[in-house]
């Protein structure tokens, strides 16, 4: 009998599509790597985002079913960083937590895992987001040294000890910092984007314009309080200095100054500079998602409904950062919606060149035919709808956390700007793409 009910419940869940709602999101201020979060571990950042979300929504943590967090640079001490962040923020220990990783779309992955868990009836209320503290990057020894240290665990007696000591070479002590490079190709993402910008003929000027736009829009959003509205304050022991704003936004940058910068990844032919690329960022963000019925029951006020989402994988050699073009095409197909129905668009800005390349591909009939199996282009993106409150180029991009920021901002923009649908998309290392469509929630 119980079994039948459960089955029925599950089928109902599967059938009713518009069932999962986004309540609200909260993030820490995003800070340039190596600044004020330097002494923090990444779980501590996550703790602020989760606690801030709970305070903002007034949700009793006992109603949380799962916590899912994304992260990229993981600290071995806190492998399941979601668990540590949740416990430190006062989430009861009965709530199980998982950490997921999918490069720059880790938080998107975490949120979608949460959606899935609610869909199949494993959870009603999920906190999903991500944390990244690039300042907490574990520095390792070279592989050669690690092997030596590993076998040193079996040392017995003085002879073995001496043997071990004499086996050491100065080069063994050179620390190895994990590089943000593609493992398969060995290239850094900047190099890949530089290549892509060249391929799709995105000029240096276009990129610098877009970067400047990002900073200016973020500056306006900050002044208007839109960014603060999505943030919690961070104040750290033992001094408890209050951090309440992002420190990467430079609304007063001069266009000439941007143009004067040297190319960062390819000195000779490159068009990518430090200014039109996103910078290493520390930060955390969390989103509260729930089944609509549970949200109602708990008196939570949803901001948006999750319509659909998609993930894609592409060629690593040529299309490393083209994920958004693929994923947007896919999610539009899945949902039966069109690009011009989208009122709000939030694109992750890994690089200005990457955003512009993807937009170009979406507008291209050739690309649609050749790569997407469509008859004609996916559609034209109205740049006026894109990232109106700034983006990763200006606000910053903590790898594991950006996805939650995108969802939160998109939902908030729907309410501030008015509109029905919002599109979110992001690229990721490993040649992955993600896109999601949400709809403004109206009770």
């Amino acid at each position: 009998m119980q079994c039948e009910i459960n089955e029925k419940k599950r089928v109902l869940f599967m059938l009713e599509k518009n069932k999962i709602v986004f309540i609200d999101g909260c993030r820490t201020p995003f800070l340039r790597s190596g600044t004020e979060y330097l002494n923090l571990m990444s779980y501590e950042l996550g703790q602020f985002a989760i606690k801030g979300l709970l305070q903002k929504t007034g949700l009793d943590p006992n109603y949380v079913d799962q916590v899912i967090m994304g992260t990229v640079i993981s600290n071995v001490k806190t492998s399941n960083v979601a668990r540590e962040a949740a416990l430190a923020s006062g989430i009861p220990n009965k709530v199980h937590c998982q950490t997921v990783t999918q490069a720059c779309i880790s938080a998107n992955r975490a949120i979608c895992n949460g959606i899935n868990e609610i869909t199949v009836g494993n959870a009603d209320v999920v906190i999903a987001g991500g944390v990244e503290n690039t300042s907490d990057t574990p520095i390792g020894f070279p592989k050669k040294m690690r092997n030596k240290l590993f076998s040193a665990q079996k040392i017995k007696g003085l002879g073995d000890s001496l043997k071990f000591i004499f086996s050491l070479r100065p080069s063994d002590f050179i620390p190895v910092r994990p590089a943000v490079a593609e493992y398969t190709t060995g290239r850094t993402m900047g190099q890949d984007c530089d290549i892509m910008a060249a391929r799709y003929e995105i000029s240096r000027d276009q990129q610098d314009d877009f970067a400047l736009r990002s900073h200016q829009l973020a500056g306006i959003a900050e002044t208007k309080g839109y960014l603060k509205n999505e943030m919690c304050e961070v104040s750290l022991e033992p001094k408890f200095k209050v951090i309440k704003t992002d420190n990467g936004i430079r609304p007063n940058s001069k266009r000439e100054k941007l143009a004067s910068l040297r190319a960062a990844f390819d000195k000779k032919h490159g068009t990518l500079t430090a200014a039109n690329s996103s910078f290493l960022t520390d930060g955390a963000a969390a989103s509260l998602i729930a089944s609509e019925s549970k949200a109602k029951e708990l008196g939570l006020n949803p901001k948006s409904i999750i319509i659909d989402y998609a993930f894609t994988g592409q060629d690593l050699e040529d299309e490393l950062l083209l994920g958004p073009a693929y994923a947007i095409s896919k999610v539009l197909d899945k949902s039966g919606l069109s690009l011009d129905q989208m009122d709000v668009i939030e694109l992750h800005e890994a690089f200005a060149g990457q955003v512009l390349s993807n937009i170009k591909c979406l507008e291209s009939d050739d690309f649609a035919k050749e790569k997407l199996g469509r008859d004609k282009a996916v559609g034209k993106i109205d740049i006026g709808k894109v990232n109106k409150w700034g983006g990763s180029l200006s606000i910053g991009h903590p790898f594991g956390a950006t996805g939650s920021r995108l969802l939160t901002t998109a939902s908030n923009r729907l309410h501030v700007e008015g509109g029905k649908y919002a599109l979110i998309a992001a690229c990721a290392a490993g040649a992955h793409g993600h896109a999601m469509i949400i709809k403004k929630y109206e009770a």
Binding site: K51, Q55, G58, A88, E233, S235, E237, P238, F240
Partner: protein
């Protein structure tokens, strides 16, 4: 009968005697348990299949203490038989041919320490809930289960005196270090480890090695050393108790007798002295106080308690951060709002310092400390105030300001929110005059420093709803406070009875009294601090504020009122007491009191009279009886609802001679007629302010007592 207290389980020839008191959450010692103990020890000794036994608890604590109410003694000979029976039993245990091991997890108080002391060995869990104490001294008693004899022999004279004279908690690691415990294990391993220990003791005795410094060896183990320890301990006890509390001295006497004349004499002394203390009034009143405190732990409005997930605190200053401090780790979110971000930062630093201390002491885990501090949100605006269930306002003491703030927060809060004002003098009724929901307005009078002062005075108005009282009462309990609920009136209860007392102390100054002499005289009388030291602690500015408002007006209207203006003058001259090291007493530059020295410049504010030698009892009676009379008047007017509240408020709020049990217990002891007679005498000498109130006169005429 045995089944009511023990569950027995035998494994590999070791009997596990689970202390498992039926129908009770904890194991507590009562006369009937002592009988059962005897039987079970006999059983073990006579059962050939059993090689050894382990005392262990089936509850979350080992032995939480004694059921004090079940032990009674009115006259000599009442209690000695029970003591002797207990001693006999413990000595049978000590001399048993089979080893007994005590395996302790959780609280071990009183006999919870003394029973293990009579066992062959003690093993304990290293859990932070495991703690040992001999708290008898706090109830005016001595450890009567052989503690004064066995403890010094096991852990040395100094450590044992420290434990017995303070009654403080000794946690697991410390207990192992001082030799009270032989082995520490994880609580999940307690059973198997105690079994192994018991079996190993069947054929071998335990060899204890304890590192003792040469000096401690000299002090603990030589007769010259010991006599130094006794002398110093007596000196210290006398300095602290001023002879008002006999128990610590008797503990010293018992220990000394045992170590000098042998255990037999020691045990005998313990039996005699324990009963003596039981019969004496000091212990009786301290026990009454304990019962009253215990009774207050029950919320009388428990069915009306409302939701309290988020506590708001307005003002992050000394008071605000103190209130936050006692609310940490209670599952409550704290929103601290202040106009100044730096004040919040300072408050958080202060909170973290305390939390870190607890982590270092291992009474808190790092995670718990993190949770606690993360739950405190500081802000300078009213964002998310709609989440607040109870808002404690601790801003500047100004009526208009408080009314304005209430109106301001009402714009941001939900309709159910409770507005609790932490004022020490302003009328709650008046503060809530323009409130949207006067039923949600209440006074929460915390005492400074909040973390140390045990009392919370909850002030209700005619409109305050039961839900509001219930929720705040619950909050107070959560914060570890003893609550009294009083009705709104000038100065409420505590400050109301304090005011005439302090005023009289200052009038004494005007008449030529000496600050130090008055303070010392009052201390000798049983107040933990003298009136002038108290004013310095509370703050002269605070005192002056209390003495200018409604309360002062009320006193001024009385027949024969004489008010000292000295405090107001001091306040105007910038004296604030301890906090700016300008007060009645002299302080060094670091803010430490210079013992026995007053701030001579203060006399100026009291007309610098020629010094007069007062009769000490005159000082004591003039001040104290005014307080007692005012307390009765508060009862008469319905400010307090019971003499019990009056006693608790006076003792925990002011430090009214605890061993008397409070003003009302004191009246019952000495007789209301005696106090009326004294008041009439003082009235003739010093004026109408000593007129006894009507209710007191009534009690004096009848034979009724307040309890």
């Amino acid at each position: 009968m045995i089944d009511n207290y023990f569950t027995k389980e035998v494994s590999d020839g070791v009997a596990f005697l689970y202390l498992n008191q039926k129908d009770s959450k904890v194991n507590i010692v009562s006369p009937s348990l002592i009988d059962v103990f005897g039987q079970i020890i006999d059983q073990i000794i006579s059962d050939d299949s059993i090689k050894a036994a382990v005392f262990i608890s089936a509850k979350k604590d080992f032995i939480a203490g004694a059921d004090i109410q079940s032990f009674k003694a009115e006259e000599v000979g009442d209690f000695q038989p029970i003591s002797r029976k207990g001693h006999l039993l413990l000595s049978r245990l000590e001399n048993s041919p089979k080893p007994f091991v005590a395996a302790i997890h959780g609280t071990a108080y009183g006999l919870g320490v003394e029973l293990p002391l009579a066992c062959s060995a003690r093993i304990a869990s290293n859990h932070r809930s495991t703690k040992f104490a001999l708290p008898e001294v706090k109830l005016g008693l001595l450890p009567g289960g052989g503690g004064t004899q066995r403890l010094p022999r096991l852990i040395g004279l100094q450590a044992s005196l420290d434990m017995m004279l303070t009654g403080k908690n000794i946690f697991a690691r410390k207990a192992k270090k001082i030799g009270l415990i032989d082995e520490l294990v994880h609580h999940s391993k307690l059973k198997i480890a105690s079994k192994n220990l018991a079996l190993s003791l069947v054929n071998n005795t335990l060899r204890r090695k304890r590192k003792v410094s040469f000096l401690n060896k000299f002090l603990d183990s030589t007769s010259i050393g010991r006599s130094i320890v006794y002398k110093e301990a007596r000196k210290k006890v006398m300095r602290q108790t001023l002879g008002n509390y006999p128990a610590p001295l008797e503990i010293l006497n018992c220990v000394e007798t045992g170590l000098k004349q042998g255990q037999k004499q020691g045990y005998e002394a313990e039996v005699i002295k324990f009963e003596e203390l039981m019969i004496g009034s000091v212990s009786k009143e301290l026990r009454n106080l304990f019962f009253a405190m215990t009774a207050k732990k029950k919320n009388p409005w428990s069915s009306d308690i409302g939701k309290l997930n988020t506590l708001g605190i307005l003002g992050a200053g000394f008071m605000g951060s103190g209130i936050a401090e006692v609310s940490l780790n209670k599952g409550i979110d704290i929103v601290m709002k202040d106009v100044n971000a730096n004040t919040i930062q300072t408050a958080k630093k202060h909170l973290w310092k305390n939390l870190s201390k607890q982590v270092k002491r291992k009474s808190l885990t790092k995670l718990e400390a993190k949770n606690a501090i993360t739950a405190v949100r500081g802000q300078v605006d009213y964002s998310d105030f709609d989440k607040i269930d109870v808002l404690v306002e601790a801003v500047f003491e100004d009526m208009e300001m408080k009314q304005k703030i209430l109106a301001e927060v009402e714009q941001y809060t939900n309709d159910d929110f409770i507005f609790a004002t932490n004022t020490s003098a302003l009328s709650i009724e008046e503060i809530g005059k323009y409130a949207k929901h006067p039923e949600n307005v209440i006074g929460l009078h915390y005492f400074s420093p909040v973390s140390k002062m045990p009392l919370l005075e909850i002030v209700r108005t005619a409109h305050t709803s039961n839900r509001t009282i219930a929720t705040c009462y619950d909050l107070g309990l959560n914060q570890g406070k003893t609550n009294i609920v009083v009705n709104n009136g000038p100065g409420f209860y505590v400050n109301r009875i304090l005011a005439p007392y302090l005023n009289e102390a200052m009038l004494l100054l005007e008449e030529g009294g000496d600050i130090i002499e008055i303070d010392n005289t009052m201390k000798a009388y049983g107040f933990p601090v003298g009136p002038f030291a108290l004013m310095d602690e509370v703050g002269i500015d605070v005192g002056a504020h209390v003495m200018t408002g409604d309360l002062a007006e009320m006193f001024k209207r009385r027949k024969g009122a004489v008010m000292s203006e000295g405090l107001l003058k001091m306040n105007q001259a910038g004296f604030k007491g301890r906090k700016n090291i300008k007060g009645f007493l002299a302080y060094n530059k670091k803010g430490k009191k210079i013992r026995g020295k007053a701030n001579e410049s203060v006399y100026e504010f009291f007309d610098k009279p020629l010094k007069v030698k007062f009769d000490l009892s005159d000082i004591q009676l003039r001040t104290t009886l005014l307080m007692v009379n005012e307390a009765v008047l508060c009862f008469q007017e319905g400010i307090i609802e019971s003499p019990q509240d009056g006693d608790l408020g006076a003792i925990f709020g002011i430090g009214f001679r605890p061993f008397t049990g409070g003003p009302f217990r004191y009246l019952d002891q000495v007789g209301s007629d005696y106090v009326v007679k004294e008041l009439e005498r003082l009235k003739k000498l010093y004026g109408d302010r000593f007129s006894p109130c009507d209710l007191l006169l009534q009690y004096a005429k009848s034979t009724n007592s307040f309890y």
